[in-house]
C-alpha cells in the first residue's frame, strides 16, 4: 500500500515536504495507526502522537485523504491510494504530523468546563433522574481530539475569538447538567459576536467527529437557551 506523508522537522528542514512510503505487509483489519507504526519501524524519524489504539485517548487526530480523523480507528481498507496524511489543518506544525494544540486547549479552558454548585454539599450524591442524566449523552463523551475544531472554517479564521465546536459542546454539556448552578454566568459569557455566533452551521464538525457527537446541535441548543433567557 502506498502513503504520502507530510514531513517537516524544523531542526533539519527549511520547508515541509511530502514523502512517499510503501508498506507491503498489509493484514486484514489493519488500521491506519498500525500502518504508521510499521512505517516508523522502517523510518523512526516519522513523528506522530498515539497511545490507546482504540479511539478513547484522542491523541492521533490527523488529516487523512483530506478529512480529519483518528488513525487508530480508520481502517486501511476504505482508503484511496496513495493515502495522503497531513497534520490537522490550520494549526501550527511542531513536527511532521504533530501540531501545537494549545489554541484548542485554551478555548476549552475558556468555557470553564467544570461543574459549579452553590448549594452546600450533601453527604451523599446529588440526585439526578435517568432522564436528566440522558441529556448529557452525546456531550460528555468528547475525547478532546480536536478533529472538529480544526475542520471548522470559522475556527481557522478566528482561533482566538471563536470558541470552536469542541469547546462549545462542552459549554452545553454543563448548561445541560441538572446539577450545575452557573447557567446565568455561562450564558453571559457566551454573548458577543464571536465566541458563539461565528458558527455558520457549516457542519464540518459533525461530519468528522469520530465519536459521533453533534457540536452543531449543541450550538443550536445554546442559541435557543440564550433566546429564552433574553425574554
Amino acid at each position: 500500500m502506498r502513503f504520502r506523508i507530510y514531513r517537516y522537522d524544523p531542526d533539519r528542514d527549511s520547508a515541509p515536504r511530502m514523502q512517499d512510503y510503501q508498506l507491503d505487509d498489509i493484514r486484514p483489519g489493519m488500521m491506519l495507526r498500525d500502518a504508521l507504526i510499521a512505517l516508523k519501524a522502517q523510518d523512526e524519524s516519522l513523528a506522530f502522537r498515539h497511545s490507546c489504539g482504540e479511539g478513547v485517548c484522542g491523541s492521533d487526530g490527523m488529516n487523512i485523504n483530506g478529512r480529519n480523523g483518528l488513525a487508530c480507528i480508520t481502517p486501511l481498507a476504505g482508503l484511496k491510494e496513495p493515502v495522503e496524511i497531513r497534520p490537522f489543518p490550520g494549526m501550527p506544525v511542531i513536527r511532521d504530523l504533530i501540531v501545537d494544540m494549545s489554541p484548542f486547549y485554551r478555548q476549552y479552558r475558556a468555557v470553564k468546563p467544570w461543574l459549579v454548585r452553590e448549594d452546600p454539599e450533601p453527604e451523599v450524591e446529588v440526585l439526578q433522574t435517568p432522564a436528566q442524566r440522558a441529556r448529557l449523552d452525546g456531550l460528555y463523551e468528547c475525547i478532546l481530539c480536536g478533529c472538529c475544531s480544526t475542520a471548522c472554517p470559522s475556527f481557522w479564521w478566528n482561533p482566538e475569538r471563536f470558541l470552536g465546536p469542541a469547546a462549545l459542546l462542552q459549554a452545553w454539556r454543563f448548561l445541560a447538567d441538572s446539577r450545575d448552578q452557573h447557567s446565568e454566568q455561562r450564558l453571559d459569557q457566551l454573548e458577543g459576536p464571536y465566541r458563539l455566533f461565528r458558527c455558520h452551521t457549516i457542519m464540518n464538525c459533525v461530519e468528522v467527529c469520530p465519536k459521533g457527537l453533534h457540536p452543531t446541535r449543541a450550538i443550536g441548543q445554546i442559541k435557543a437557551t440564550m433566546l429564552k433567557h433574553a425574554i
Binding site: 522537522d9 524544523p10 531542526d11 533539519r12 483489519g29 516508523k40 519501524a41 523510518d43 523512526e44 524519524s45 513523528a47 506522530f48 502522537r49 498515539h50 497511545s51 490507546c52 489504539g53 482504540e54 479511539g55 478513547v56 485517548c57 484522542g58 491523541s59 480507528i73 511542531i94 513536527r95 511532521d96 504533530i98 494544540m101 486547549y105 479552558r109 470553564k112 468546563p113 467544570w114 461543574l115 454548585r117 454539599e121 453527604e123 451523599v124 450524591e125 446529588v126 440526585l127 439526578q128 433522574t129 435517568p130 436528566q132 442524566r133 448529557l136 460528555y140 463523551e141 475525547i143 478532546l144 447538567d177 446539577r179
Partner: protein, 588 residues
C-alpha cells in the same frame, strides 16, 4: 552538556492519570505549589480507557457494607493483600465516590436518582454470599468520565501542568532523600530540572511488557523503573493480571461489566464452561480464575475459531436496549474492530495482559517504603507513590475489577494529605545533589551516541514476545529460566542500540528508547520474582507448584536491580479496627 534550566515546586507529581490528578487536586486546594508532569496531555492518560466502574459499598442497588467489600478484596487477592490498607480503602470508598459525583462525574443513574451500580466479579454480600452490585458506573466509560472531571477540577484549582514532558530519573542525595526529578521537554528536546520538597510517582502501569495487551502504548512502567535505578526495590512484580476478555488477537478490553450485565462465556461446543470451574459465581468469579479457565479450555482443544485460540463472550441474549444503554462503548468497539454488533453476534475473546498488581512499595499513606535503615517499612524521605505503579498492597496476588480506579483515587488522595503534612513540617528545599543531576543527564546523553546499531523497534518487539512466551498465564521453572537467560542477553544488547533520528524536536524515537530501557528492567523484576515464587497464588500459576503454600510463601517479594537481588517481607495481616481474615481455601 550544558546545565539544564531549573524550576522549584513544593510537590512534583509524575503522572496525570487518576492517581496523579486526584493527588494534585488535594494539594492545589491546600494551596501547595504543585507541578504535574505528564508525557501526554492529561486526558490522554490511560485512566481514560477504564470502562466498567469503581467499587464502593453505597448499597444503592443491593444491601452492602464496606466490611463485605473488604472481605472480597482480601479473598480476591488470595490473602497476599495488606489488610490495614484494604480496610482503609474499602471504608473510604463511598466518600471517594460521592466526592467524584460532586466534582461532576456523570454517573449513570437509577430511577430514584441515585448512582447506578452493576455486579462485577468477586463482589459478594455477607462475606461470600450472594452476588453484590457494588460497581459505580458511567455507562462503560467510567474512566473517561472520572479522568476528564478530575482534569476539569484541576484547571479550576489552577494546578500547574507540564504537558508532554518525559521524566528521566529521580534525584536522590547521599542520605537517600528524593529532591525532585530530571525531565525532558519533548517538544524542544531540552532537559529541565524540577526541584521539589516532595515527589509523587503516579506513572501508571506497564502492560506494554506483553505483546497483546489492553494497555496503551504509553504504559511502559517508567516510574517503576526510575525507582529501581534510584536503588530502591519493587514489590510483588511476579503478579501480573491477565484479563479474561480482551478481543482475541487484538487486545482491546471488553469490560467485566459485560458479564456483570448478564453476558457469559462459551467454548467450541457451546458449553457454558465457567459452571465447571466456579459453580457458584460462574462467569463472575475472580479474574485469575476465569482467565485460567479460558486458557485451559483453549489448551485442551475446546477453543473456538479455525485456530481454536479463543472463546466466545455472548451478549446477544441481553437485547439491544441493554447493550445500547449500558455498554455503548463496547458496542462501538466491536463495530470498529470486529465489524459485528455484540447485541447480535458473540465476541471472540482471550486472556490478555492487563494490570500489574506489584509496584513501588508504599504504606497506606502513599509513602514509599524500603528496607534501608531499620526495616522494610521505613519511608524514603520525600518520595511518594500512588496508582497502578504503586503496591500498597491492596490487590495482593490478584486485583478485583473496579478496585483499581478505587485504589488510584483513595491513595492519590491519601498521598496528597500526607504530603500536605510533610510540607507543613519541612518548609525549605534540601540542597540539590549535583552528582545526582549528573547521573540523570548521563542517562539521556547515552542516546546521543551515533553510528550503526540495532533499532529500538526490533528490541521492543522481541521483548514483548519474550514476555508473552515466558511469563504468561501458566508458568514453569524451565520456561522461566529460559526466559531469564534470553532477557539477560537482550538486556546486554541495549548498549548496541542506536537512534537514527537525531533531531531535538519532538523526537519520539528517543522517548521510545528510554521506554525500552524501562520495560527491560521491569521484565527482569517480573521474571525474577516469578521464578523464585514456588507456589500458585492469585494471578501467578505455576504448573510445577499448583498449590498455594501459606507456610512458605505468604509474603511479599522485593526485587532490586543491582545483581537482580530478591528479599521477602511479611504480609500485614492485621486490619485497622476489625478482625483479621485468615487465609482459607479460595473457591468461587
Amino acid at each position: 552538556m550544558k546545565t539544564p534550566a531549573r524550576r522549584r515546586f513544593d510537590t512534583l507529581i509524575l503522572g496525570a492519570g487518576g492517581a496523579g490528578l486526584r493527588a494534585a487536586l488535594q494539594l492545589a486546594r491546600a494551596e501547595a505549589r504543585v507541578a504535574v508532569v505528564s508525557k501526554v496531555f492529561p486526558t490522554r492518560s490511560h485512566t481514560v480507557a477504564a470502562q466498567g466502574g469503581v467499587n464502593a459499598a453505597l448499597g444503592n442497588v443491593s444491601p452492602d457494607n464496606w466490611h463485605w467489600h473488604m472481605y472480597d478484596t482480601v479473598k480476591g487477592g488470595d490473602y497476599l493483600g495488606d489488610q490495614d490498607a484494604i480496610e482503609y480503602m474499602c471504608r473510604a470508598a463511598p466518600k471517594i465516590v460521592y466526592e467524584l459525583e460532586h466534582f461532576g462525574v456523570p454517573f449513570s443513574r437509577l430511577d430514584n436518582g441515585r448512582i447506578y451500580q452493576r455486579p462485577f466479579g468477586g463482589m459478594t454480600r455477607d462475606f461470600g454470599g450472594e452476588q453484590a452490585a457494588r460497581t459505580c458506573a458511567a455507562a462503560d466509560r467510567t474512566g473517561h468520565a472520572i479522568l476528564h472531571t478530575l482534569f476539569q477540577q484541576n484547571i479550576r484549582a489552577r494546578t500547574h501542568f507540564f504537558d508532554e514532558y518525559f521524566a528521566i530519573d529521580l534525584l536522590r542525595d547521599d542520605e537517600g532523600a528524593v529532591l525532585g526529578a530530571l525531565v525532558l521537554e519533548i517538544e524542544s528536546g531540552e532537559p529541565l530540572l524540577i526541584e521539589a520538597k516532595t515527589t509523587l510517582i503516579a506513572s501508571g502501569g506497564c502492560g506494554q511488557l506483553f505483546r497483546t495487551t489492553t494497555n496503551a502504548h504509553i504504559n511502559t512502567g517508567d516510574g517503576m523503573a526510575m525507582v529501581l535505578r534510584a536503588g530502591l526495590p519493587l514489590q510483588d512484580m511476579e503478579f501480573f493480571q491477565f484479563h479474561p476478555t480482551g478481543i482475541a488477537g487484538k487486545g482491546m478490553l471488553i469490560t467485566e461489566g459485560a458479564r456483570g450485565e448478564g453476558g457469559y462465556l462459551v467454548n467450541r461446543e457451546g458449553e457454558r464452561f465457567m459452571e465447571r470451574y466456579a459453580p457458584h459465581a460462574r462467569d463472575l468469579a475472580s479474574r485469575d480464575v476465569v482467565s485460567r479457565a479460558i486458557a485451559t479450555e483453549i489448551r485442551e482443544g475446546r477453543g473456538c475459531g479455525p485456530q481454536k485460540d479463543h472463546v466466545l463472550l455472548k451478549l446477544d441474549h441481553l437485547g439491544s436496549g441493554v447493550v445500547a444503554q449500558r455498554l455503548p462503548g463496547i458496542r462501538d468497539m466491536c463495530r470498529t474492530f470486529l465489524h459485528i454488533d455484540p447485541a447480535e453476534t458473540p465476541i471472540p475473546v482471550a486472556p490478555t495482559a492487563h494490570y500489574v498488581m506489584g509496584g513501588i512499595p508504599t504504606n497506606r499513606f502513599g509513602e514509599v517504603v524500603a528496607p534501608e535503615k531499620t526495616g522494610a517499612e521505613d519511608p524514603v524521605p520525600g518520595l511518594y507513590a500512588a496508582g497502578e505503579c504503586a503496591c500498597v498492597s491492596v490487590h495482593g496476588a490478584n486485583r478485583l475489577g473496579g478496585n483499581s480506579l478505587l485504589d488510584i483515587l483513595v491513595f492519590g488522595r491519601a498521598a496528597g494529605k500526607r504530603i500536605i503534612e510533610f510540607l507543613s513540617e519541612h518548609r525549605n528545599h534540601r540542597p540539590l545533589d549535583e552528582a545526582a543531576v549528573e547521573r540523570a543527564l548521563q542517562r539521556l546523553a547515552r542516546w546521543d551516541r551515533r553510528g550503526d546499531g540495532e533499532s529500538v523497534a526490533t528490541l521492543r518487539d522481541e521483548l514483548t514476545r519474550l514476555m508473552e512466551e515466558h511469563a504468561s498465564v501458566f508458568r514453569t521453572e524451565a520456561v522461566m529460566r529460559d526466559g531469564v537467560d534470553k532477557l539477560r542477553a537482550l538486556r546486554a544488547r541495549i548498549a548496541d542500540v542506536r537512534l537514527r533520528d537525531t533531531s531535538r524536536v519532538f523526537n519520539t524515537a528517543r522517548i521510545e528508547a528510554l521506554e525500552l530501557e524501562n520495560l527491560v528492567d521491569i521484565s527482569m523484576a517480573t521474571l525474577a520474582g516469578a521464578l523464585a515464587r514456588e507456589e500458585s497464588r492469585g494471578a501467578h500459576s505455576r504448573i510445577d507448584f499448583p498449590q498455594r503454600d501459606d507456610a512458605r510463601w505468604m509474603k511479599h517479594s522485593l526485587y532490586w536491580r543491582k545483581d537482580d537481588r530478591l528479599e521477602w517481607k511479611p504480609v500485614r495481616t492485621k486490619p485497622l479496627s476489625v478482625d483479621s481474615f485468615p487465609p482459607k481455601e479460595r473457591v468461587y
